[in-house]
Structures are given as structure tokens and as C-alpha cells.
């Protein structure tokens, strides 16, 4: 009996030491221990000790597709400076959720990103004023940064992106060489009417052109519809803001609803996929259709190049991938350029320790000023970085980024600002996307979609205002 009690107590003690051993590795420096388990911990100890003085970086990355690049950048930085950098990537579409739970931890991210003014409203308690950083001083266009009510700078954009209609020049040339082509070159497509005439004519000759449809699938699967409920929706909102001379509104009238319908109808009716089936298509599907030459055009941004070039058996030559602005039939659109802007802003966690904050700023500045960092940004991430530290020959070489730069440099074209950063909430975008899906499936009329946009905009603006 006694023996049993002793053995039971001993086993409890054993379990307890095991548990305690696990805990102490994180909390306190590991004391000299002769056990085998402690050995690996000791190796890590010097690095952690150094970190205590200089702070450490924990970056919560937004884009899963470039996770590896960030990991290797982090390793390189640690090698050079000894400052530990941890990069964690949120799974696609879960950034807000991950940030929400991570930032509540004791080891919260020191560096994270927000998507614009709306994201800033949500995270302003956690954003540090970056006005005095070098990073801010390098910014080419300081109006791009997120400014708080007190004049502080709380978010710094680290990439400029552009989107429009990507077209395959080889297919276009094939069409222009045909008898009865509506126009002779893509340069002549400068408004919606011409675009419509060309697209519809091409669709009727699809078989001769060797394509299944002019436009790649308008992906309307929930979660895959951001090209329409965010990017395309930017155009009518941009024109409405421009007419009213505002940059945000509590009540959108959706005055350019017909223009949106114009281009949306053109997309879904001249596509390689029937409108009723669009609810099962993803962005990857439509990029693959374009890459395989099944479609001549697809609406997306310069980040889409990786998706085009990465498709196995793709038939699109690098020199044939071009951008065209999205025409909707708005007045004066002949001079319209691509939609350029950013939705990626770096923020430093204001509730992290000062040492960590400094380390994080130093890490970001290293990325955008050191040769190794800049090379990775330009060549591997493919970013058009909006900083003065980048020389002309340090801009990305991929065809879509080149096109964005070309449109930005063309003074006859006016870039369309990314006004969708003022959209009330993700909920609004999702509701809009779902309405588009039902419209494409033929269950509701366009007026219903318009009503959804107007109602949900007002309701969500009111709800977000109330939540603050």
C-alpha cells in the first residue's frame, strides 16, 4: 500500500517537473541543467538574451503567396544584425481574424498591416505614430500614408499596385488582322462603346480566334468575388466622389450604377463561362483560363502576373501581356488610366515594448533601403515600392508592373484613385458580391442589386460609426 502511494507521488512529481520544464523555457532563461531536454534550449539562449536588449520583431504577414520571401528576408536580417525576426503568415482571407487573436497574446505582433482608413479605425489603439521615422521621409507621395485625427502618421504604404483589364496582345492582333475588325489596334479602344463593339465582335468570332470567350470567368464564389465587389466597384464610386468633390460619404447614391452594369454585363455575357455557372469559379480559375489562352481578357491587377506565369502549360508570351483601363461609359473616360493605389499599410504595434518597436522600425527600414532588402522587394515580391530609396533600375521587371509604371508616367492619363479603401466594411463588400451572384444567376434584377448597394452602404457606415 505504502509503496503504491510513493510510486503515485513520484509519478505526479515527474509530470509536474516535465510541465514546469516546458514552461520555463519561454519565461526565464534556462538554468544550467544536466538533462538532455535542456540542451537545445541552451543553444537558443544567447540569441534570446541578445534580443532582450535590442528588442525583437514579430511580423504578421498578409500575403500567403510571398511567405517564403519574408521568411528568407527575416533569416537574412537576423544573420546580419542578430535581431530575431519572426514571420507568421495568416491563411488566405483570415488576416483580420489572425491579427485579432494574435494581438491579444503576450507575444503580440510588433509589425502588422492594415488595409486603409477603415482598417485604421479598427486598429487605431494599436498603431504607433511613425511621423519621425526614415521610412516616412522616404515616401514619394506622403498623401498616401494614413494620417490620424491628431496629424500623426499611423500607417505607411509599402507597395503601389494597379489594376485594369489585362489582355493578351497576340489574340488581339489576330483579331485586328481579320476582315471586318471594328478597330485596327488596341490604342483605339479608349471608351466603353468601342470596347463593347470590339468585345462583342470578338465573341461572335470566338471559334476563329481559338478562344472560348473574350473574358475569363467572372469569379463569383463567395470569397473569390473581390475583383467585382471591391475593384470594379471602385470605378462608379470614384466618379461619384469626383462629381460631389468628396472622399468619403455616409450615403452613397450609386449614381453610376448603370455604368457598373454596362461593364459587368459585358464581362458575364462575353465570357468562356455561362453566367449561371459563375458561382463556382475562383480567381485562380479565371487566371488559368487567361494563361491557357482560353480567354483574351481578364480584369485583375499587376499582382496577377505570378498567377499567369505560374500556370503549367501557359500559352501567353511575356511580351503579350498588357493592361487596358476599365471603361464603363462614364463621361471623360478617354483620359482614364489604370486604377492605382494601395491597400497595404505597415503599422507598428503601439502596445509593444519600446525596444521591440525600435527593432521593428529598423527591420522595415532595412528592407526598403539595404541592397539585399530592395532586391528581394523588387525581384521576389515584385513590388512597386513607393519610396525614394529605389532607383529607376530597381523597379520590377515583370510585364504588368512595367505597364503600371508606363500608365503612371503617361501624363495624358489620369489614374483612378483606390476609393474602395473608404468602403464601409467587409460585410458591405460581401453583401454586394452576393447580390452580383444572384444577378448573374438571374434570380434578381439589376435594380435589386442597386438597392442592396445603397442600403447596405448606409447601414454599414452607420453600424461602423456606432461601433466606435
Amino acid at each position: 500500500m505504502k509503496k503504491k502511494v510513493i510510486s503515485a507521488l513520484l509519478s505526479v512529481a515527474m509530470v509536474a517537473t516535465l510541465l514546469m520544464g516546458c514552461g520555463s523555457q519561454e519565461a526565464a532563461p534556462v538554468e544550467e541543467a544536466a538533462t538532455e531536454e535542456a540542451a537545445p534550449a541552451e543553444e537558443v539562449a544567447p540569441a534570446e538574451e541578445a534580443a532582450a536588449g535590442e528588442g525583437q520583431v514579430y511580423y504578421l504577414n498578409f500575403k500567403p503567396e510571398v511567405d517564403e520571401v519574408w521568411q528568407s528576408l527575416a533569416a537574412k536580417y537576423t544573420e546580419e544584425t542578430g535581431v530575431p525576426v519572426k514571420v507568421v503568415t495568416a491563411a488566405s482571407g483570415t488576416y483580420e481574424q489572425t491579427l485579432k487573436s494574435e494581438i491579444a497574446n503576450a507575444n503580440a505582433p510588433t509589425l502588422f498591416q492594415i488595409n486603409g482608413p477603415v482598417g485604421y479605425q479598427n486598429w487605431k489603439d494599436y498603431c504607433l505614430d511613425l511621423k519621425d521615422t526614415d521610412l516616412y521621409s522616404w515616401l514619394l507621395d506622403s498623401s498616401l500614408a494614413i494620417t490620424g485625427e491628431d496629424g500623426g502618421i499611423y500607417g505607411i504604404p509599402y507597395v503601389v499596385e494597379g489594376y485594369g483589364i489585362i489582355y493578351n496582345n497576340a489574340i488581339m492582333d489576330k483579331y485586328f488582322a481579320m476582315d471586318g475588325a471594328v478597330v485596327a489596334s488596341t490604342d483605339e479602344i479608349i471608351n466603353y462603346d468601342t470596347l463593347k463593339a470590339v468585345v462583342e465582335d470578338m465573341q461572335s468570332k470566338a471559334a476563329d480566334l481559338g478562344i472560348e470567350g473574350v473574358f475569363a470567368s467572372t469569379s463569383l464564389t463567395p470569397g473569390e468575388d473581390w475583383r467585382w465587389q471591391t475593384h470594379l466597384a471602385n470605378l462608379p464610386v470614384y466618379y461619384e466622389y469626383k462629381d460631389k468633390k468628396i472622399s468619403d460619404t455616409d450615403a452613397l447614391e450609386f449614381t453610376y450604377s448603370d455604368n457598373y452594369k454596362n461593364i459587368f454585363d459585358l464581362y458575364i455575357n462575353n465570357s468562356c463561362t455561362e453566367p449561371g455557372l459563375l458561382g463556382s469559379k475562383s480567381v485562380d480559375d479565371s487566371m488559368a483560363e487567361f494563361a491557357l489562352g482560353k480567354a483574351a481578357m481578364v480584369q485583375n491587377g499587376n499582382w496577377g502576373w505570378g498567377q499567369i506565369s505560374g500556370v503549367e502549360g501557359n500559352t501567353v508570351a511575356e511580351t503579350d501581356v498588357k493592361f487596358m483601363p476599365i471603361y464603363t461609359g462614364a463621361a471623360g473616360e478617354e483620359n482614364q488610366g489604370l486604377c492605382t493605389g494601395t491597400e497595404n499599410f505597415f503599422c507598428i504595434n503601439s502596445q509593444a515594448s519600446e525596444a521591440d518597436q525600435k527593432a521593428s522600425i529598423a527591420f522595415v527600414e532595412w528592407i526598403f533601403s539595404s541592397d539585399a532588402g530592395k532586391a528581394a522587394v523588387t525581384n521576389e515580391l515584385g513590388f512597386i515600392a513607393p519610396f525614394s530609396t529605389f532607383e529607376d533600375d530597381e523597379k520590377p521587371k515583370d510585364p504588368l508592373a512595367q505597364e503600371v509604371l508606363r500608365y503612371m508616367a503617361d501624363s495624358s492619363k489620369t489614374s483612378v484613385a483606390w476609393n474602395f479603401t473608404s468602403f464601409p466594411s467587409q460585410q458591405f463588400k460581401d453583401d454586394f458580391g452576393q447580390a452580383l451572384l444572384e444577378y448573374a444567376a438571374g434570380s434578381i434584377a439589376w435594380d435589386d442589386v442597386k438597392a442592396v448597394v445603397v442600403e447596405r452602404w448606409a447601414a454599414e457606415k452607420a453600424a461602423t460609426a456606432q461601433a466606435e
Binding site: 503515485a8 483580420e96 467587409q426 460585410q427 461602423t464 461601433a467
Partner: protein, 280 residues
């Protein structure tokens, strides 16, 4: 023996109790408190009273999700239990290969909800493609799809419970009924069903709670599309909490109400079916 049990009581229950507190009691209490708070992260909350509960009803989403859940649950509970009971009756007869069939019918239950959702999504879409439409185009498809999916997944499990119940019906009772001239229908209604009442309670409870808190399958199959018409309560709560900034507290309030509703329904059902059970 009793003495030894007492002595070791602490050693054996404390770890489990600790885990239970950590993973269940603490989050539950926190959740209850947070439903009265405004917060972005769970560690940093300010008390605002009942406001979240009022806000939960400002938009029709929660009510719609509740109605959809009830509509789904009623049909699914009935169909799952009736079909699995029939299956159990069939597989307790002396026919060849009963063991094989039991295994096959039970298997869908071993597949996780998310995977099942995606599998059924592609299967249903493959059929709907021929009619030029998709699963998310119309709420009816999503509704029927969910019911079919749940039936497919849960019938096997319920069937096993019913089989165990049916095998426990004393043969002398059935024989006695037979000798008294009862038809097989009468034997079923008057003898077998009253005797398997405990199994029915368990199965009803399981299907009821599973149908109400259904999440994975709902998320994978339709994700609430189109326009949240096929979103069930759990999905609506998840979307409110994670999908919308400033609505964390509202999501939490919905979750508390959801708990109360499900607990009430499940306990009422248990009490009702328990009262129908007979002693052997």
C-alpha cells in the same frame, strides 16, 4: 475499495478538472462577460451593458439564421431518425452481409465536416452544371444540399445506436406478442418502439444538438450564399464576430442567446422522451 477511491480521487480528477476549467469553464465565463462588452481583442474590453443584445436584433440576419436553422433542423431530425431506424430494422434481420452494410453505412461519419462539405459541393455542382446553374445560385439548393449531406453523414451513426437498442429487445416479449397473434406492425409499434425508447432519446438528442450547432458543413457547402440565405446560427455568429469590425460583442451576445436556445430545446426534448421510456 471505497477508501482507496477517496484517497486517489484528487490525483485522478484534478488534471481532468483543470483541463475542463481551462478549456470550457473559463472561456464560457469569459464569453458571458464579453457579451456585455465592447472589445476588439478579448483581453481589452469595456463594459457596455445590454447594448450588444439589442444590436443583435437591429439587422435581420440573426432572426433569418434562426428561422433557417429551425427549418433545417425539423426536416433533418425527422428524416435522419426515420431513415436510420428503418435501416436498423433492415439490418437486424437475418440477411447476408449485415456486418458489411453496417460498416459501409457507418463510414461517412468518420469523415470530417469540412471535407464532406466540399465533397458534396462538387458532387452537387457537377449535376447542377448540366442545368446551367450552381449550388450557390439559389437558396433552395443549399437547403436541400445540407439536408442530404447531414442525412448521409449521420444516418450510419444513429443506425448503430438503434441496432444496439433493437438487439436488446427481449426475444421472449416478441415471441409472446407473436403467440398472442400480433401482426409484425403491431409488434413494432407496441413492443419494439417502446423498448427502444432510450435509444430514441439519445438519437433525438444527438441529431437535435448536431443540427442546431452545425457549422463546418454549412461553411464548406455554401458559406451562407446566396446573400446569407443559407447561413445557420453558428455560421452567423462566426461571421458577426470575425467578419465585422466593431461587432465582436454582438457576436458574443448572439452566442450566449444561441446557447440558451439550444440548451432549452435539448433539455425539453430529453425530459419529454425520457418520460416515454419504459422499464424492462
Amino acid at each position: 475499495m471505497q477508501k482507496t477511491l477517496k484517497k486517489y480521487f484528487v490525483i485522478f480528477t484534478v488534471p481532468t478538472l483543470f483541463a475542463f476549467c481551462l478549456a470550457f469553464i473559463v472561456p464560457f465565463a469569459m464569453g458571458l462577460y464579453l457579451s456585455f462588452c465592447k472589445f476588439t481583442t478579448v483581453t481589452d474590453a469595456t463594459f457596455i451593458g445590454l447594448k450588444n443584445y439589442f444590436r443583435a436584433f437591429e439587422e435581420p440576419d440573426f432572426i433569418n439564421a434562426t428561422l433557417f436553422t429551425v427549418k433545417f433542423a425539423v426536416i433533418a431530425i425527422l428524416s435522419i431518425n426515420v431513415l436510420s431506424f428503418l435501416m436498423a430494422l433492415l439490418l437486424t434481420r437475418k440477411i447476408k452481409g449485415t456486418n458489411l452494410f453496417r460498416t459501409v453505412f457507418f463510414m461517412p461519419n468518420l469523415i470530417g465536416g469540412i471535407i464532406l462539405g466540399y465533397i458534396w459541393q462538387s458532387m452537387i455542382n457537377a449535376i447542377l452544371y448540366d442545368y446551367g446553374t450552381t449550388l450557390v445560385a439559389n437558396a433552395k439548393f443549399g437547403y436541400l444540399g445540407l439536408i442530404v449531406l447531414m442525412n448521409w453523414q449521420m444516418i450510419g451513426y444513429m443506425m448503430i445506436i438503434y441496432i444496439a437498442g433493437l438487439q436488446n429487445v427481449p426475444t421472449d416479449l416478441i415471441e409472446a406478442a407473436h403467440i398472442d397473434g400480433a401482426t409484425s406492425w403491431q409488434t413494432l409499434i407496441k413492443v419494439k418502439i417502446p423498448m427502444v425508447m432510450p435509444s430514441i432519446s439519445i438519437c433525438l438528442f444527438l441529431t437535435l444538438s448536431n443540427c442546431f450547432k452545425l457549422f463546418d458543413q454549412n461553411l464548406a457547402l455554401t458559406a451562407g450564399a446566396p446573400s446569407k440565405k443559407t447561413a445557420m446560427m453558428a455560421l452567423d455568429i462566426y461571421n458577426t464576430f470575425y467578419g465585422r469590425s466593431g461587432f465582436e460583442g454582438v457576436g458574443q451576445a448572439k452566442a450566449v442567446m444561441f446557447f440558451l436556445v439550444v440548451a432549452t430545446i435539448a433539455l425539453t426534448q430529453l425530459r419529454f422522451t425520457r418520460s416515454k421510456e419504459v422499464e424492462q
